[in-house]
Structure formats: C-alpha cells, structure tokens
Symmetry: C3
Subunit: 183 residues, 3 copies
C-alpha cells in the first residue's frame, strides 16, 4: 500500500541520513513475484508450437530466420505462457504478451515492451514492463511501469535471467518482480 | 497534486487499517477525463480517410489485410482523432498516436503503446499509455505511465471500451482516464 | 530520494496553497542530466556507419528510403551513441537503444520508446522513456517512466531538442532529463 511505502521511505530517510553517508540505499520490496515465461520462435516449420514470430526485419533479412549482425532490427511479437516453475509444461498462470526488438549491431541486446496478463487463483491483473535487455549478462533489470487489478498502480523493478536457451528456437526467462510502490 | 494525494493516501491508510480487513481498497481519482478516439485502418483502397496502417506482419501475410490467426503479429501505426463524444465528425481535441500490436494467436488481444496529444482550450499536454488490450472484453484497464504539460508527471489507469466496431475498417474506443497521481 | 521529494512536495503544497491561486506550480528536479545522442539511419549504402535501420514500412514503401507522407508508418530501430557534448566523435558514455515510429500523415511526429544504457565513471544504469515527439517543435517533452541502477525507480520528464539535422541521414538530439522522483 502506498501509505505504508511512504512511511517506510520516511523511516529509511531517517536512518539513511544519520549514518553511513555515501553508502548505497537498500529498499525492501512491498511485494515480490518470481515467474517464468517460455518463448518458442516461429522458424517456418513450427507453426503449431510457436509462441512468437518475427514481424519486422531490416533490409535483406526475412521473417523466418533471425537477422545477421546480432539480429539487429528484428522485432518479434510474442504470446508466451507464464509458469510458476521452470517447466514449459506446467499449468500456465497467465500470458506474457508484447514484443522484443533486437537493437544492437555488435552484441545481443533487446528492448522489451510487454505485459504479464495473470489469471490464476492467486493473482488477477496485469503488469506492464519496459526496459533494455542485454541478454548476455547473467541478470538484467527492467522497469515495471504500471499495473492493473491486483497490481493497481504498482511500480517496481524486474530482474530477468535467461534460464534456458536452445539455439534460436526456445528460451526461458526467469523474472523476479520486485514492487517498491504498492497501493 | 502530489502532496494532496499523499495526504489522501495517508487518510485512506488510517481508515483502511481500522476496519474491514481484507476488503479491497478503493481509491478516488484526483482527475478524470473521458475521451473517444477513432481508428480507420488502411485496406489498400481508403488512403484518403485511413488514420492507421499495418506496417508489420508475420511471414505470409501482407500489409492491406489483417493477418489470419486473430491478426497475430500485425503491428499497426495510428494517428487517430480524439473527440469529446462518440461522433467521428466532432471537432477533434487532439490526436491519439502510436501503435497496436496483435499478440495472441487464439483470441483478439493487442499490446497498446501510444500517446494522447491534447491541444484544446481545456487541455494542453500529452498522456502516455501502455498496456494489454484483450479487445473482446467489455472493458480493459491499461496503465497511464506519465504525462507532460497539464498532465505533468501524472499516473493512473485508463479503462478502455470498444464503443463501435465495423468489420476490419473502423473502430471507436471510449477511454476513461483516471489519474491517481496528480502533481 | 523519495522521502526528500515527499517532504519537498509537502512544503510546496503549503506554499502553493497559501498564495497565487491558479498560478502554475513549479517543481524543482531532484536530479538533472543533459546528454546528446546521434542517429545515422541506414540508406542502403552506409552499413558501416549506420546506427539505425528502418524495419517496418507501410504498403508500397521500402526499407532504405523513409516513406512518403511524412514517413507515416515507418518504424526505425536504433542503437545510438550517447555523448556529453554535441560532438559525434566524443567518447560515448552509453547507448540510446530502442525505436521511433513515425505516426502522423501530415507533419513529422514520432512515438519514441527507448532506453538510455549508461556506463561511465559518473553513471551506471538505465533510464526508460516513452512519449510523443513532434519533431518540428523547438522542444518536446516526453516521459521518463522508470530507471535502474543509479536511476533506480526514478521518474521524470525529458525535454528533447533537435540539435542537428542533416537530410534523412543524420540527426542529433539534445536530451535534458529532469528527474522529479528520485530514490
């Protein structure tokens, strides 16, 4: 809840201002969720299983093979199942829906813009994300810019890790969502 | 205004913590706007009237017909007039500009990313939106992630309803923007 | 820091509520950064130098020439160097990564969605942006919707100005980032 957050922050302020000047502040999430999502990219032969598709590509590239130069210029649209554990076949608790844009020529980096649409006994609502995903790093932080339903007006940080990567066909991301503004 | 919001939240906290534990909290918007916008998608024959165009599509699809499989993979760019009522021919108070991405294979869902650019006697500024739009539901909530001008630093929730839908040529959305953080 | 911001806002509230009713409120940023980024768009002949590429276009257009009708419908993906001054050859302090979408038929306007990925002695972290960019105006405001690292949970406004424009090949943007929520 927002008021709680504000009181916490105020307390943090009192503590932070009295000791350890220059030390990095640490905030405690008001809510945390760890979820996985699974992406199977369309390669021209897996239409039945694919959960994502290349829909834009730079000049000279096509829509069934990720572009050369670290896929620079590819936009993929996805509708990926979200699970509570790292098993693709676990019952999904929602869908991750949106796009990733490969936006670097000399390494693998993507801009992510997507929603988690959750619909389970535990959670009902959406969470909206935007951020840079330099996929070769072990973990990457992106912004949680808003939410609806159970996540009404929430903000936070999502820490993403590549939990599995199988060529250009399948990858699985672990998403540790830490909300710092709850309502 | 932010301070007002914080005081309100604090009061809400006092009330909420003393009674009805477990009951869903209700917040009151600090500002509310109801607007309509109108989308006419380019189909190869309506260049003069069209306000949006398909610019990306999955393999095998084209740019004048929305893709099969619930339009999965289509990205449309739009510049739609915003009106105060549900009449396409009312004087526009601004433009809705951005994109929608059809991102589900088995139902109609889009990811929305767009701005309202308002320029009327009543409102001058922009409002930025991102969120999932499962278009078959009666109403859908998306995030208002920021604003400029009269909407400086605002955040909130926009409730979207399809007010009219005429085949794949015209649709009209009613947008009820509720700001919960005003400055 | 958030608590500081809240105290400031509270003080602002006391001041604002006691005098000059109706006068526009002025907020002071809790942090400010001025940076430049440089975009060289791929035109079919500058592959080595290009930092951006057209990846989507409306029907009838191609991926090496910006579309007619004010480029309506073009999506460009970019990975642009960020510098501290207006010199393309200054040592970069990070990369601006994301996309711009030309989304108006009768003037030059783009929707921006991108991240600043900063990695210098002074700043380490990312800043996420979304907003409308009517490029013919001298300055434009967009939303800073979140950040990570040194910019953890920050929000603010970025004022963008076109600092140089050389045909459809090179442009340079000056970005004045004013954070109003610091943590």
């Amino acid at each position: 809840m927002r008021a709680t957050c504000i009181l916490l922050c105020f307390f943090t302020f009192l503590v932070a201002s009295s000791a350890h000047p220059g030390k990095k502040k640490q905030y405690k999430p008001c809510k945390e969720l760890v979820l996985y999502f699974h992406d199977i990219i369309y390669n021209g032969q897996n239409a039945a299983n694919a959960t994502s598709a290349i829909v834009a590509a730079p000049e000279g590239a096509n829509l069934t093979i990720l572009a050369s130069q670290f896929h620079f210029g590819n936009i993929a649209v996805f509708d990926d199942p979200i699970t509570l554990d790292n098993n693709l076949h676990s019952p999904p608790v929602g869908r991750a829906q949106g796009m990733y844009i490969y936006d670097t020529k000399n390494t693998f980096t993507a801009l992510l813009g997507f929603s988690f649409v959750l619909n389970s006994t535990d959670h009902h609502g959406t969470i909206n994300f935007i951020g840079a995903d330099p996929t070769t790093l072990k973990t990457r932080d992106i912004s949680v810019v808003g939410g609806t339903g159970d996540f009404f007006m929430h903000r936070g940080i999502a820490t993403i890790a590549t939990d599995a990567y199988e060529g250009d066909v399948y990858f699985r991301l672990r998403v540790d969502i830490k909300f710092y503004e709850c309502w």
